[in-house]
């Protein structure tokens, strides 16, 4: 009886302890297994991510290194499974490509959006990564302001050079995610057509006779006298035409009013307007009042100093086209004044500076000066900030140590004594495409639309 009692107590005690211990152990083992499974899943997913991102990087490099303009229909001839076969990575992950495209016709060019879908998976994990990339190919007459940096080297330049080497050797830094073009490309800087349109000349013949008629001078083939002229038609100020050099052109902005001060032969002239509104004021009372100004300034000569006054040169809605046939020298920062409320619009460059006189030599001699844009800031202590789209049918010269250009640069020759940093900003879409490539193909965007985890049962 005594023995039986002892055994009972011992059995109950041992069973209880064993139950508690085993429960705890089981729970801990289960928990450990869950934690391990979760960790393994995370590691596997992470490896797929790494492989996919690595592959996307190489995919982008391959696409950007391809001369896309050599294909007549790159969306079919290049973006297919022959050029981009499905692959198995070193970590035994499968990456499968599929291609589709949409054509979006524009006024002067066609945008083809190639949609590439990439599926990355491993045989051992239920997780799969699904990714989509948009590649926008522009083909046709592409506006020159859509390229961050376009150096149109002539055919006489004997040694072709790749873009990266050129940028490195010339201290040009491309901060945008678009590709630069350093090549010999057929481009159109149609000053002639631009002037015919800006001066509202009927027909295709541009001569002093037509220009004189527009500004009310007696018929003759002689140039008009030096001065500043307004071309007003149907209550719209189409353009300001300046015959002869300008010493200073000073931009400033206040309360959404754009101000431009011109100094010609030491005499100051001031004009004020609200972009896209019927408000214009200047020294000539005949063109003051409820007039819409189309923001075109044509200088047959050179502008020896383009500057900004106070903190900003332009109001946010300004879209000024300044055409100079001689030299344009920028001597200060040119920036947008404090933006105000147009949240629904992205930033566009406010000044399109076009410089050149090709096909106009018979008409404009640019004051006898070779066309070109020179950056020579008076303030040598700080970096120069320019928010300008520059199109120069000649040489672009930077004399500053540190130039930050927010906009775009098209030129035929470059002289750079400092560093040029280009951050691409588009210009407003022009109604008439006078400054564009002829027939060109360009990858305007490579965008990873998404990378998403997908789980299969």
């Amino acid at each position: 009886m005594k023995n039986k009692g002892n055994i009972l107590v011992s059995v109950v005690f041992v069973t209880f302890l064993a139950f508690v211990g085993i429960s705890l152990l089981t729970f801990t083992v289960m928990h450990t297994k869950i934690v391990r499974a979760r960790t393994v899943k995370l590691v596997k997913t992470d490896r797929i991510y790494q492989d996919l991102i690595y592959h996307l990087h190489h995919f982008r490099e391959k696409v950007f290194n391809e001369k896309i303009r050599e294909f007549s229909q790159p969306e079919q001839e290049y973006f297919n499974n022959t050029c981009f076969p499905d692959i198995t990575t070193q970590n035994q992950h499968q990456i499968i490509h599929s291609f589709d495209y949409v054509e979006i016709p524009k006024a002067f060019y066609t945008k083809t959006r190639v949609i590439v879908t990439l599926d990355a998976s491993s045989g051992t994990s239920s997780c799969c990564l699904n990714s989509q990339v948009f590649i926008d190919i522009l083909s046709g007459k592409i506006p020159l302001t859509m390229f961050p940096f376009f150096m149109n080297r002539g055919t006489e330049d004997p040694i072709p050079v790749d873009a990266e080497t050129f940028l490195r050797e010339n201290n040009v830094i491309n901060k945008s995610d678009k590709k630069v073009v350093i090549d010999d490309v057929d481009a159109e800087v149609s000053m002639h057509e631009f002037l015919i349109d800006a001066l509202k000349i009927t027909g295709t013949n541009l001569s002093w006779r037509e220009i004189r008629e527009k500004f009310g001078f007696p018929p003759s083939d002689e140039p008009i006298p030096p001065g500043i002229y307004f071309l007003v038609e149907d209550g719209i100020l189409e353009a300001i035409f300046i015959q002869g050099d300008i010493e200073r052109m000073i931009f400033s902005a206040r309360d959404q009013v754009q101000k431009i001060r011109l100094i010609k032969n030491t005499v100051p002239y001031e004009l004020y307007y609200k972009p896209k509104e019927t408000y214009f004021e200047c020294w000539d009372y005949s063109v003051t009042g409820e007039i819409l100004y189309q923001e075109k300034i044509i200088v047959n000569g050179s502008v020896w100093s383009i500057e900004q006054e106070s903190d900003g040169a332009f109001v946010e809605l300004s879209d000024i086209t300044l055409l100079v046939t001689g030299k344009a020298v920028i001597r200060s920062n040119l920036e947008t004044a404090e933006p105000y409320l147009s949240l629904r619009q992205s930033k566009l460059s406010n000044l399109k500076l076009v410089c050149g006189k090709e096909h106009l030599e018979h008409l404009f001699d640019g004051g006898g000066t070779e066309s070109g844009v020179v950056i020579d800031n008076v303030d040598k202590t700080n970096p120069t900030d320019l928010q300008v789209s520059v199109i120069v049918d000649g040489k672009f010269t930077n004399k500053d140590q540190d130039l930050k250009l927010s906009g775009s640069l098209y030129c035929k020759d470059l002289e750079n004594t400092g560093t040029i940093e280009i951050n691409h900003i588009d210009a407003a879409v022009p109604e008439n495409n006078y400054f564009s490539t002829m027939d060109f193909k360009y990858i305007n965007q490579f965008l990873i639309h998404f990378i998403e985890e997908v789980y299969y049962d």
Binding site: F13, F16, R38, R60, F134, D177, F446, I448, H449
Partner: protein, 231 residues
């Protein structure tokens, strides 16, 4: 003849028995306490893992399908303070099948289950730099009726994205980290959170987070926002 226990034997047996009983009870209660603590700790770890996984998932998706219009959207895709953050991403994208004129309230897309009544959408045209945030009022096949008329013309092939907005916020007084989706209410995600910290590093597109639970367990790390990188 069976002889009974003497009083001395009984006292000794009782003493030994009671000693064993006290030992057993104390051990059992101690092991029960340990079990509770271990289970509690494991449950806490589970919920921390769950929270971190959810945060990782949302941060990884941040900006997804919205990077193209992000250039001209009037709001950021990631907003944070020390104790809260909000991410915005697209659930799915479709393209307009037909042109949609200004002031129109009906647009046509391919039928897609993500596009449901009450969902917020972003409609954008990258070439003309127009975008608009709107809400789906009704769905009829491939036609979506919007709560507000379009402010601009949207040509065929303009993109329409269903938007999801997720917000995390630490309620210090309640020691609770809560999560909110779209226009819903904040729902508790993890309790006993004694510290929560988030810092965004835009250069590397990553977020440093720190979660401290019950002033004991602390998890911290960097999460790379994969969908915020365009190049």
């Amino acid at each position: 003849m069976i002889k009974g226990f003497s009083i001395l034997e009984l006292i000794v047996a009782l003493t030994i028995g009671l000693t064993i009983l006290v030992f057993v009870i104390s051990n059992v209660s101690e092991s029960t306490g340990h079990t509770k603590r271990i289970i509690g700790s494991q449950e806490r770890m589970e919920s921390i893992f769950h929270t971190v996984e959810m945060i990782r998932s949302d941060l990884t998706k941040c900006g997804m399908r919205l990077l193209e219009p992000a250039k001209f959207l009037g709001f950021p895709l990631f907003v944070n303070s020390d104790y809260s953050f909000k991410v915005i991403y697209g659930m799915d994208t479709e393209m307009l099948i037909d042109d949609a004129a200004e002031s129109a309230t009906v647009i046509t897309i391919n039928r897609n289950d993500f596009f449901r009544k009450g969902k917020r959408i972003v409609i954008y045209d990258p070439d003309n730099r127009n975008y608009q945030i709107n809400e789906i009022q009704a769905v009829d096949g491939d036609q979506l009726t919007l709560t507000a008329g379009l402010q601009d013309d949207y040509p065929k092939n303009s993109s329409v994205v269903v938007v999801k907005e997720v917000e995390y916020k630490h309620y210090a007084e309640q020691n609770t980290l809560k999560r909110k989706v779209n226009k819903g209410y904040f729902q508790p995600l993890i309790e006993e959170v004694t510290d929560f910290y988030v810092k965004f590093f835009p250069e590397s597109c990553s977020v440093l987070y720190r979660i401290e639970v019950n002033k004991k367990e602390q998890i911290r790390g960097y999460i790379f926002m994969t969908n915020m990188v365009t190049r």
